[in-house]
C-alpha cells in the first residue's frame, strides 16, 4: 500500500518535471543574461546566485540590477519588486481552484515556485493538479533558473550573439505553445486572451500603467468582462 502510494507520488513528480522542461529551456537565455548583467553591475557571484535563490523572479531581478546601477535606494527597490510581482496574487488565487487539497505547509512550499511560466503550464492542464506534480514542475524550473544564473555570471560574455538573439524568443514561444491548443474551437479562450492582449498593449504603449500593474488590470478586466458576457448568455462555456 505504502509502496504504491510512494510510486504514485514519484510518478506525479516525474510528470511535473516533464511538464517543466520547456520552462527550463526557456529560462536558460534569460538566466544567463541576468548573470551577465549582474556581473557588469558589480555584484559578486554569491550575491548574484543568492538573488536567484531567494527572489526567483526574472523581471524584478532585472529591474533591481538596473536600479542598483542607478544608485536607487534599497527600500524603493524592494517596493518596486512587490508591485511588479503583485500579479502572483491573482495566479495563486486562480491556481487554488485547480490544485488538490493538501496541508498548508506543502502549499506554502511549492507556492514559492509560482512564476508566470510555471503558472501557465500548470493551469492549462486539463485535470486536477496533484501536490507531487506541482513540486516536480516548480523544482525543474527553479533548478534551471538558479543554475543558469551562475553559468551566465561565469561564462555569459563568451556566448555568440546569434545564440542569444534566437533564444530571446523562447518564453514567448512557450506562452504561444500553451495558449494555442486551448484556443482551437474555443471562442471564450480567444476572447479572454484577445481582450487582455489589447488592454495590456494600450496600457503599456500609452504608458498609462507600469508593466506590473498593466498585466494585473488587463487580466482582471478581461476575465471579468468575458465571464459577465457568458453569464448573460446563460451558458457556462467552461468545460
Amino acid at each position: 500500500m505504502e509502496a504504491t502510494l510512494s510510486k504514485g507520488l514519484f510518478n506525479q513528480f516525474k510528470q511535473g518535471v516533464l511538464g517543466g522542461i520547456s520552462i527550463a529551456i526557456g529560462y536558460l537565455p534569460i538566466a544567463i543574461t541576468y548573470g551577465l548583467i549582474a556581473r557588469s553591475t558589480g555584484l559578486s557571484l554569491t550575491e548574484t546566485v543568492l538573488m536567484s535563490v531567494i527572489v526567483y523572479a526574472g523581471a524584478s531581478q532585472y529591474i533591481a540590477l538596473d536600479m542598483i546601477g542607478k544608485q536607487i535606494g534599497m527600500m524603493e527597490i524592494v517596493f518596486t519588486t512587490f508591485i511588479v510581482n503583485i500579479r502572483h496574487l491573482l495566479m495563486s488565487a486562480s491556481l487554488n481552484e485547480k490544485v488538490e487539497k493538501d496541508s498548508g505547509l506543502k502549499r506554502a512550499i511549492y507556492s514559492f515556485g509560482i512564476t508566470d511560466e510555471t503558472f501557465s503550464v500548470a493551469s492549462v492542464q486539463k485535470s486536477m493538479l496533484t501536490t507531487g506534480y506541482m513540486f516536480g514542475l516548480t523544482f525543474i524550473a527553479y533548478f534551471s533558473w538558479v543554475l543558469f544564473s551562475a553559468v551566465g555570471y561565469i561564462v555569459g560574455a563568451n556566448l555568440p550573439t546569434v545564440f542569444q538573439d534566437g533564444m530571446s524568443v523562447a518564453l514567448y514561444a512557450m506562452f504561444i505553445g500553451l495558449l494555442v491548443p486551448s484556443l482551437k474551437g474555443n471562442m471564450k479562450v480567444l476572447f479572454l486572451a484577445g481582450t487582455a492582449a489589447i488592454f495590456n498593449s494600450v496600457f503599456t504603449l500609452c504608458q498609462v500603467l507600469s508593466t506590473g500593474w498593466s498585466i494585473v488590470v488587463s487580466t482582471l478586466i478581461s476575465a471579468i468582462l468575458v465571464e459577465l458576457v457568458s453569464w448573460m448568455k446563460g451558458g457556462h462555456l467552461h468545460d
Partner: protein, 101 residues
Amino acid sequence: MISPIIWMIIGMGVATYVPRMIPLVVLQKIQFPPFIQGVLKNVPYAILGALIFPGIFFIQDEIWFGIVGAIIAFLLSYIGANVIIVVIGTISILSIVSYLT
C-alpha cells in the same frame, strides 16, 4: 557581517514570496460563489494574452523579429506540436532566419 545588498535581496524575497503564498494557503477552505470561480478560471487564458502582447514585439530592436517568432510559434503549435518542440523549433528557425538576413 551581512552586506546591504544581501538585506535588499532578503527584502525582495519577502516581497515576492508573500503574494505567491497567501492565496494558496489561505483560500483553501473558502468556497467562492460560482461567478468568482468563473473569473478565476478565466485568469490563465487572459494572462497568457497579456504576457504575449505587446512584449513579443520588443524582444529585439527590430520589431519583425518578434512578429516572425510569433508566427512560427503559432504555426508549430497549431499543427499540434508539443510545447517543447514549439520552443526549440521557434528558436532554431528564428536563429536561421536571423543568420541569413
